[in-house]
Amino acid sequence: MTAPLRRRSLLKGLAGSAFVLVVPRALADLDTRLEAALSERFGERRPQQGGVELELSRLVENGNSVAVTVRAASGEPAPAALHLFMPRNPEPWGTSFQVAPPALAEFSTRIRLAGTQDVLAVAEWADGRLGAMAASVMVTLGACADDLYLEF
């Protein structure tokens, strides 16, 4: 009966070393798929809360087309990019909006949501700083509800 012991010691080892959470507490409950998407775009960097505003309905009936507005928070210097992540969509990275003056750091679009989730907006400044705001959206009918989603 060595297998459980081995697993236990492995877990202990992991807890002691690699698994250090670097996300701020308020964002800590967002899951590992979002983590992977953030790593892909930002490497080791993780956003602090604030600096960006995200406008979304709290309740939507149809996840195929959900109006969303993202803008830099007032009082912030203009970010170089605004990003949107949908953690429970098959592909969590939604869009990246690179912006330069005289354009304002603000856009409105329509997104798909596969189900109820916390959409995350991230502002990225030229110096590498990241700011984030999450908004929970309840979706009664997810995008592609009439079709089967393939495993992803």
Binding site: E91, A103, L150
Partner: protein, 109 residues
């Protein structure tokens, strides 16, 4: 498939005025995650990039992914600081491209 867009471009503005561009392109933004009624995967076909040039400056460069709805809508704003051409460009993963142009005349404030 030829792309078509409905675009609202400002034509005149005073210097320093904030103007808005609104765009709507007809495109299915097929995600590649759906299957048809025979269980076959419907291949991905999306617009991948949108960009806007204003008076010879790239002011918007946007990556589009499958989480953007079919018939992508986009609205953004900028400060009219000089007269010049506005060029909107969409590019898709099948090599398709759509360019819309307009001219913005900026008068002194």
């Amino acid at each position: 498939m030829t792309l078509s867009a409905r675009v609202r471009l400002p034509q005149q503005a005073r210097a320093g005025e904030v103007v808005e561009i609104r765009t709507l392109v007809s495109h299915p933004m097929e995600t590649g995650f759906r299957v048809d009624s025979f269980g076959r995967r419907i291949p991905r076909r999306i617009l991948t990039r949108f960009s806007c040039r204003y008076a010879d400056r790239l002011i918007i460069d946007m990556d589009l992914r499958p989480s953007i709805s079919a018939n992508p809508y986009l609205a953004f704003r900028f400060i009219a600081d000089r007269s010049g051409e506005i060029e909107l460009r969409w590019q898709g993963d099948q090599g398709e491209e759509l360019i819309e142009r307009g001219h913005l005349e900026v008068t002194p404030a």
